[in-house]
């Protein structure tokens, strides 16, 4: 009998302890971290820029332009972010490629000659970009050539736009 009572007390005590821990609430820690984000994309490639005409007596041939592509950016780093542009290789003398990026979150540098801008000498094309997003801004390319530079068979250049601080 005594043994039974002891067992009952032990069991009872055990449940009493469990009861003390029975909770009608539960908590969970959720940590949300937002890291630095830089994103830039372009809408595709511009059409071929082909110089086909000029004026008699003038060395500078009639330039051609393309503004069919756009770029979009998103960044949360700061309010002094910029976009730079460069080619994978410089153009030969007598040929000129300029680029102009429109911007609403920053300040466009206007028309920038990137003919000789390579990875080591990228040029700023948009500066002072504020935190946030800027979508579908127009990219304008202009290609011009001198008659004295001669003809140019189809040549490709990779233009790299970099969103950076």
């Amino acid at each position: 009998m005594k043994k039974s009572i002891v067992v009952a007390i032990i069991i009872g005590s055990a449940f009493a302890v469990q009861a003390a821990f029975a909770q009608s609430t539960a908590t969970q820690s959720v940590n949300l971290t937002v890291s630095t984000v830089y994103k830039i994309s372009t809408s595709g490639n511009p059409a071929a820029l082909t110089v086909t005409t000029g004026s008699a007596g003038t060395d500078a041939l009639t330039s051609v332009s393309d503004n069919s592509t756009t770029y979009s950016i998103t960044q949360n780093y700061g309010n002094a972010v910029k976009v730079t542009a460069n080619l994978d290789a410089a153009l030969q003398a007598g040929y000129t490629l300029t680029i102009n990026l429109a911007s609403t979150k920053g300040t466009s540098a206007g028309t920038v000659n990137i003919s000789n801008a390579t990875s080591g000498s990228a040029l700023s094309v948009v500066t002072g970009i504020n935190r946030g997003a800027d979508a579908g801004q127009t990219i304008s390319y202009t290609f011009s050539a001198l008659a004295s530079a001669g003809m140019l068979t189809s040549t490709t250049r990779t233009v790299t736009l970099t969103l950076t601080n």
């Binding site: 830039i40 060395d59 041939l61 003809m151 189809s154 490709t156």
Partner: protein
Amino acid sequence: MKRILKNITLDIVIVIALHGAFLPQHAYSQQATSTQVVTLRVMELNKIDLVGGPLTLQVNSINDDAGEPNPAIDASTKLLWTSNGDARKIAVGTDIASPRFILKIEAEKSGSGTGVAEPEVTLSDNSPHDLILGVQRSAGSCKLKFTAMASVEEGVGSESHLITYTITGG
């Protein structure tokens, strides 16, 4: 115990050093890129144009000594050209197969650009005649000197020439 403390201190120094070395670099290395492929091409082009004209050459005086009419001369017309090709030439021709009167033309090279002027050309038929040779990858210009001549036997009359300038491969 002292050794342990020394090691810990050293570790802390190293950690701080690494932190100081990499954190700024990390902070300034943030960027994203996007690329576009641009295709560039310049086609062959040859342009030629005239400044001045149409003009009228009038033979209306006689040389008393020779008893022949004096030639009429005009150098008011300017020829312009642009070519990004190599070894081009400029030829000139009239639309009259057998002119009644004599009409001569000469390029007086005084402008810029490449090219060598040929001697004075007589437009005696409607075939093209070389006017300037050695034109290449340039824009140039020159004055055109027209000379009209007639003999007494040819009497009085008039001719209208349509003169064509052509820049072609040389």
